[in-house]
Symmetry: C2
Subunit: 318 residues, 2 copies
């Protein structure tokens, strides 16, 4: 069983690659829900949906979020009716939010609602929210505190980020199955997602970070930072807000207490010493995922690094 901790965009691509090399039934994803929001009265889980759509082959390639070839007719009328439209939901996408919201209203957990949705879409993998509790990523800016989607989508991550917090995380418990999956995994992979606001909320749920430290499985991350900048999105700005360098070393430091190996881009191959000095193995490869072949090769590289980590541990303990 391969466990993947992931956010939405980069993680969704990574998971598509992994599906090419590992049977779907052997993949468990543990997904960030710190970006979840109530929108038009519905419970929207952007990262869960990106992973779900990616696995079902429904993810829009063009947009990187939402359902491929979707229409936005509801949104148009919502706008006419005076409701906010800066967060866009397509017509097909809406169905998932409607069904999820109804299941939650019927006292199902987010884990159960997600399970129902992925099974109906024919996905054989497990897709687990990091927690069933409400954990809300908040971004501090000089103009005040924003929800993650306000910061990321509405303000297009232009405001300076002075800090990040995960409201509700302390009282949250990992969703059913998360700790067990991490403990029993053959490998744990950290997708090339934002370490602060995609992987960060997952690690903020009490028990998960500790589970990663103690799992017998190798833990391998893919760096979302290439050549001193994030491949996409605000990861760089947010790492700075946490006092981390925007580099592969910054990524390694965010995960140093549990990471066995870091996959970095070839362009950073001259910067490995800072990572290796943390006791983390490094493998350089092409990490920018444009084609399905790129995604598959990156997944292969991550699995190979995990296999090497197992071997090197076996040597150490001999």
């Amino acid at each position: 069983m391969i466990v993947v901790l992931t956010g939405g965009t980069g993680g969704a691509k990574f998971v598509q690659g992994l599906q090419q090399v590992v049977p779907a039934a052997q993949i468990t994803t543990v997904v960030n829900t710190g970006d979840d929001l109530e929108w038009w009265g519905l419970h929207v889980s952007p990262d869960l949906d990106s992973i779900t759509y990616a696995m079902a082959g429904l993810l829009s390639r063009e947009r990187g979020w939402g359902v491929d070839d979707d229409t936005f007719h509801c949104l148009e009328v919502i706008g006419r009716l005076g409701a906010p439209t800066w967060f866009q939901l397509g017509d097909r996408d809406l169905a998932v939010h409607l069904v999820r919201t109804q299941l939650l209203a019927q006292a199902r957990t987010l884990t159960q609602a997600t399970e129902r949705i992925i099974r109906r879409l024919g996905i054989a993998s497990r897709v687990l929210p990091m927690t069933d509790a409400a954990v809300e990523t908040r971004v501090m800016t000089p103009a005040g505190e924003l929800s993650f989607q306000e910061y990321f989508v509405r303000e297009r991550w232009k405001p300076e980020a002075t800090g990040v917090k995960f409201l509700g995380a302390e009282a949250a418990r990992p969703a059913n199955g998360v700790l067990e999956a991490i403990h029993k995994a053959d490998s744990v992979l950290i997708a090339p997602s934002n370490p602060i606001t995609s992987i960060g909320p997952i690690l903020a749920v009490p028990g998960i970070r500790e589970g990663l430290r103690h799992t017998p499985a190798p833990v391998v991350a893919v760096s979302p930072i290439v050549a001193g900048a994030a491949v996409s999105g605000p990861a760089g700005k947010l790492m700075q807000s946490q006092g981390l360098p925007v580099s592969i070393e910054g990524v390694a430091r965010a995960y140093a207490d549990f990471l066995d190996a870091l996959i970095i881009d070839q362009r950073d191959a001259d910067q490995t010493s800072g990572v290796e000095s943390l006791g983390i193995a490094v493998s350089a490869t092409k990490t920018i995922m444009r084609s399905l072949g790129d995604k598959e090769a990156l997944a292969q590289a991550a699995l190979a690094a995990a296999a090497r980590a197992v071997k090197s541990r076996a040597l150490e303990t001999r």
Copy 2:
């Protein structure tokens, strides 16, 4: 001010005609909400929406309900996710239900939510639900009790109707403005809607029937029964279940305690004696509304009958 008591289908067409001859700002509709349902977790008010869409020029001519030229992409995915789809909501239509549901969740009344929606769509008329309370039309059948939409849409009104009840009506109060509108109207028109399950629920809200009896305004109805059958829908079957003949006399009897005049179709011009014997004036015209011209002429006929009723009352009281 012209007040129209109405359901969805026939009433929506009638209101479109009325808009041709009376300024929209002088029309107040009082709309059946006994058909309202919770669907996909949303509060759906089919008759309010038909009237709203008709007045905004958005009503689908093809279907007679929902938004013109709408798509059903959300519905397709909802079906894939295993939720029921026998009641269809289009993608544009969904926007209204989402906004209404949110306003109700924010403790606005249905009257306030409707006001917000119609203003945003540029409608100058008043559109009032009959009540802000939950009143649910239930249809008894040999196989058990059904909600109106289960009977009408899901079962396509095939089951025998043995009775009708309006759950919650006794405790309901007319929505703000309804009784005042009826009292101050220049004319009150009863649209050619189903007397049992479209106009019936409105009359079941305590105070409305009495308001119609005592208003100084003439009250004129348009018969939805032509040549011994309903123009559309289950009005005939439901009138039978209430012991009413399926004829213009049956319609007149349903409204006998407050009606001044009944507009009937020319084809029923030989059957006026039963209506007239109830003290109700009769005008025969073409009542089938195919073109906008048909709708306009029918509205003109109803207003003319109202004017005649005023005159004849003035003569009586001289």
